[in-house]
Every structure is written in C-alpha cells, then in structure tokens.
C-alpha cells in the first residue's frame, strides 16, 4: 500500500547533523589506505639469473633487458607505464622480485622525458657504470621524441 513521507525521519536526522563536508575530514583520518598496497617491483641482485621471464610476462611491455652471453646484463623499468599488477613477482622462477610500496608515486606528474620516470632495477658485471648512464640518456631522448610526435599530430 502506498504511504507518503516514508523518508521523513531520516531526512530530519541528517538535516540536524549538518552538512557532510564538516565530517568528511575526520572520516578520512579514521580510514587510511590499507597497509599492503603494492606499487613498483624491485629486484634482489644476488638471485637474478637474467632469464628474461619478467619481460615476457609483463602486460604493458614496460620492462626492458639488455644482456650478453655471459652473466652480465641490466634491466630497466618505465615507471609511468607500469600498472602494478604483480605478474613479474608471480612468475619469476628464482623468487628474486619483491613488490615495494612507494607512497610518492601518486603525487608526481609523468611526462616521459625527465630522469625520475626511469628506474634501473639491476645491473650486473660489465654493465655497471658508464653503460648504464648512456642507457638512461637514450631512454630520455626516445621519450622526448614520442611527445613531439603527439604534439605534431594535434596541430
């Protein structure tokens, strides 16, 4: 059967409490984000065998590897493209990756051509030092070219 003003009690109660914008800061302080939120991966240097499984499994193609036939190599990560899914940790055969929590990642603005957007995960053997620095400048240049193409297309 039909009645009128069924929600009258609730509406008056909420009106007496005042606008929600007064209480919302207190509610945010009571519910912080959970402790085990995960962001980007980190590799333990002693365990990595340079097999390349993490490159094949990544859904967004954001991990790159360069190596030679002996045991030397380096692995680079593009931070803006990583979607924090955790596949590299699940499928690594020697358990060398652990997912870290980096709270500053949500406040920066990614633009592909500053040096904070690229992270060197591991470098072994003869690839430390100069080779790693040159790789960083190559990546920044390639990122700058991509941005220029998009600006040209937009006109």
């Amino acid at each position: 059967m039909k009645k009128v003003l069924v929600m009258g009690g609730e509406a008056l109660k909420n009106h007496a409490k005042g606008p929600v914008t007064k209480h919302v800061l207190k509610r945010i302080a009571e519910n912080p984000p959970p402790e085990d939120i995960r962001t980007i991966p980190r590799i333990i240097e002693d365990r990595c065998i340079m097999c390349g499984t993490c490159v094949k499994v990544c859904p967004t193609h954001c991990i790159e590897i360069e190596k030679d036939n002996k045991d030397n190599g380096m692995i680079w990560l593009l931070k803006p493209q990583c979607m924090w899914c955790g596949h590299c940790q699940t499928y690594c055969p020697v358990d060398a990756i652990h997912i870290d929590r980096d709270p500053n990642l949500s406040v920066s603005l990614f633009s592909f051509n500053i040096h904070q957007d690229y992270e060197m995960l591991v470098a072994k053997g003869s690839y430390k030092g100069d080779v790693a620095d040159k790789k960083l400048s190559d990546l920044i240049e390639a990122g700058g070219k991509k941005i220029k193409e998009v600006e040209e297309f937009r006109g």
């Binding site: 059967m1 039909k2 009645k3 009128v4 069924v6 929600m7 609730e10 509406a11 519910n31 984000p33 959970p34 085990d36 939120i37 995960r38 094949k56 499994v57 990544c58 859904p59 979607m83 899914c85 955790g86 596949h87 699940t90 499928y91």
Partner: protein, 418 residues
C-alpha cells in the same frame, strides 16, 4: 516475416526513414562515461506518444578482439577486465575458467581459491545494483534516495579496497588460482560492516515499495509480456522481471554455486517496478552469500595457485557467467602456441537493447528517461537533446537536466510536455 521486418539498429541518423504515422523525431546523443556502449537514440513521435525508437551504436569500439591475438594467454589476463568498467571481475572469471578448461587443469583448482573468487564476484554485484537504483531514483525525481544510497555504497567499497587494494577493478584472478589471500583479521573486520549494510538495504527496499511518489513513476510503465519476451530474448534481470526464470548460476553452475544455498528471484508483472524489485532482492541474496563465504573460509585450506604451462593445446570452448547486467558469453579457440587464435566476447547489454526499445511503443515521451535507464546503461551529464518540428522547421535544444526536469513536471501536474 522478412519482408515486413524493420530493423531498429540504424546506420545513418538523419531520421529520413521514419515508420508510418510519425510526426517528428528526437535525438538523444552519444556520451556515456562508463557504460558498455555509448549509444545514439532516435525516437519517432506522434504528438506525445512514441511510435518507434531506433538506436545507433559503435562509438566505443576499441579493437580488443584483434589486440588479443598479438599477446600471450598470460598477458591477456590483465587486458580482459578492462573490457567493462563495472563488470570487470566477471569478465576475468570467465576468461580464466576457459583457459583452465583448455589446458586441462580444471580439477586442480583448490576450494580456497574458488571461495575467494566467488567473494569478489558477489561483492561486485552488490556494488553495481546499489549504484543502479540510486540513479534510477534520481531520474524519477526523488533526489534524496540518490544521496542516501550512494552513502551506503561506500561500505562495500571499503571492504573491496581492504581485500584487494583497488575500489573498482580488483583483478584478483590468475590462470590457476588467485593472486592474494584473505587472512583472518581482514575477514573479522568485514563481518560487522556487512551486517550494517544488510539493515540499510532493507530500509531501501521499504522505501521503494511503500513511498507513493516513486511508485507512481514506476508502476505500469513499459510493460513487456512473456510472449514478447520470448521473441526478443532479453537476458539477466530484464528477462527475470518478465517471468523467464533463468540465471546462469543455477542453469549451468560454475565455481561452487551449487554448494551454497541461495534462492532464484523472478517476478511476472513485466513493468519497471518488477525489474527494480528483482535487483533489490538479488542484493539481499548476495549479502547473505557473502556472509556464508567468509564463514566457510575459516575452515578450508588449500594452495592459492596451481602450475600451468605456457602453451595451451588445441581446442575450443564456450563459457558463460552471470554479470550484474545479464549473461556474459565468451568463445575461445586455442592452437597449441602461447597466443590465442580467436577470442569472441559478447557483453550483456547488447542483448537487452531490442527488448528495451520494444517497451517504448505507445508510451509517453515523459516516461522515456526511466525506461532507458531500466536496462542499466549510463548517460553522461553533457547530453544534448535536439527537438525538430518538421512542420514549421523550428529547433529547440535542451540538455539532460532540463529534459529530466520537464519530464518530472509533466508527470506531476498531468500537463503536456512541450
């Protein structure tokens, strides 16, 4: 039958191919933020009544089926839940079950992994239904219900964020099991929150059945009888409101749905109030199921992930799942390598469009926002409605809020729309 058949899916939209008996036509434009398909509706009118309604689709084509043929089976696990914004857990679940059946490991999945998957699916159903009936109340002119229901929806979003780290796309499933565990402290924190939400949803149900201003707007509007429903084949809660009692979880059970006790919900009246009551009752059933799952998780052990090879042998399989909006259908073919050969997805809203357009024959223009909301799409706030009078040639542009307000005034004071 093929000679007199007039298709409701149009290609061009100048309105020149009108059915006989129509005076003028209205467009409703294509801007939806998170529905499965943004659509362009063309409604042919005679005076105040609708003669027929047409649609044009294709604005959100992203090429997912072609992109899946270049990536491996493991990489596609994270591409599939992005096919839809709010049904994302169900798409990933059907994909993972299909890949496990083709690889031949479907009886090595442990019970604990299946229970965690079922919790994610039911939590998503609760979230989607509460969101839907809040927006339906807003379209019918009852704004208080929108604010109260969206305040209560934050409870279930807090539970999902605690379990998986993300409010909307949990993406907890992998081929062979799940990614994360639910330890005992988190389950103990979630139980009193679920109890509080059950009391609030029972209050919402009392408002929808007793309050006169919502009932006048929804009752006896847009009736779809059972014989008509058998011809146009709706699926999901739209079909269950018209008397077709079929649900994928009971018809061909998957995961552990035949070991938990729950009831099938269906009504026979066929108007919009019946589909609303179907979704309200389903929310209450899902909340009871979530409590049972958390209770059973304490006493079940098992490993979380089973071993799968990278290459999947040849074969083809057809799998379905019950999304909050209907029946979700996937058909996959594998060819022995690590990329799929052909993968076909049909989202549930596409099958409901024809039934909704048939509901509008003979109704008033002012009932249209409520009927278009009833199969669960979403229009954005930057909609434009353009009214063209074919006799005098004058045009009038309204946007979404003005259109809804004019419709509310026309129904309240029993006045013509224009």
């Amino acid at each position: 039958m093929t000679e007199q058949y007039r298709s409701r899916f149009r290609t061009l939209t100048d309105g020149s191919d009108a059915p006989p008996g129509a005076d003028h036509h209205i467009f409703i434009g294509p801007q939806h933020p998170w529905a499965e398909e943004p659509a362009h509706f063309i409604i042919h009118l005679k005076g105040e009544r609708v003669v027929e309604a047409d649609i044009r689709i294709g604005f959100n084509l992203r090429g997912i089926e072609k992109a899946m043929e270049n990536k491996t089976w493991r990489q596609n696990t994270m591409l599939i839940p992005r096919a839809c914004g709010i049904c994302s857990a169900v798409h990933q679940n059907v994909y993972v079950r299909l890949a496990e059946k083709l690889a031949g490991i479907e009886d090595q999945i442990s019970e604990r992994a299946k229970l965690i998957r079922m919790f994610s699916l039911e939590a998503e159903r609760i979230h989607s239904h509460i969101l839907w009936y809040g927006i339906l109340a807003h379209d019918a002119g009852f704004d208080t219900m929108l604010h109260v229901t969206w305040r209560d929806r934050e409870i279930i979003l807090d539970i999902v964020e605690d379990f998986s780290g993300n409010r909307v796309n949990p993406a907890l499933m992998l081929i062979g099991g799940v990614k994360r565990d639910i330890p005992k402290e988190k389950a103990d924190r979630a139980q009193p929150m679920l109890d509080k939400l059950i009391k609030q949803v029972e209050y919402h149900k009392k408002v929808f059945t007793e309050e006169a201003s919502i009932r006048n707007r929804l009752e006896d509007v847009g009736i779809l009888t059972k014989e008509d429903a058998k011809k146009v084949t709706p699926n999901g809660p739209t079909g269950r409101g018209s008397g077709l009692p079929f649900d994928v979880r009971k018809a061909t059970p998957y995961e552990l749905y035949d070991k938990i006790d729950w009831n099938l919900v269906y009504y026979t009246e066929g108007d919009i109030l019946a589909t609303t009551m179907v979704r309200l009752d389903e929310t209450l059933e899902s909340l009871q199921m979530c409590k049972q799952i958390l209770y059973q998780l304490e006493s079940t052990q098992g490993e979380l992930l089973a071993r799968v090879k990278q290459k999947i042998p040849e074969g083809n399989y057809f799998a379905r799942g019950e999304a909050p909006r209907g029946e979700d259908v996937h058909y996959g073919i594998a060819n022995g390598t690590d990329t799929p050969e052909r993968y076909k997805i049909r989202a549930p809203s596409l099958g409901n469009i024809d039934a909704t357009l048939k509901r509008m024959d003979g109704e008033y223009v002012a009932d249209m926002p409520v009927i278009l909301r009833s199969y669960d799409p979403c229009f954005s706030c930057t909609n434009r409605v353009m009214v063209i009078n074919e006799v005098t040639g004058e045009k009038m542009i309204l946007n979404q809020d003005e259109f809804a307000r004019k419709a509310i005034k026309a129904k309240k004071y029993n006045r013509p729309f224009f």
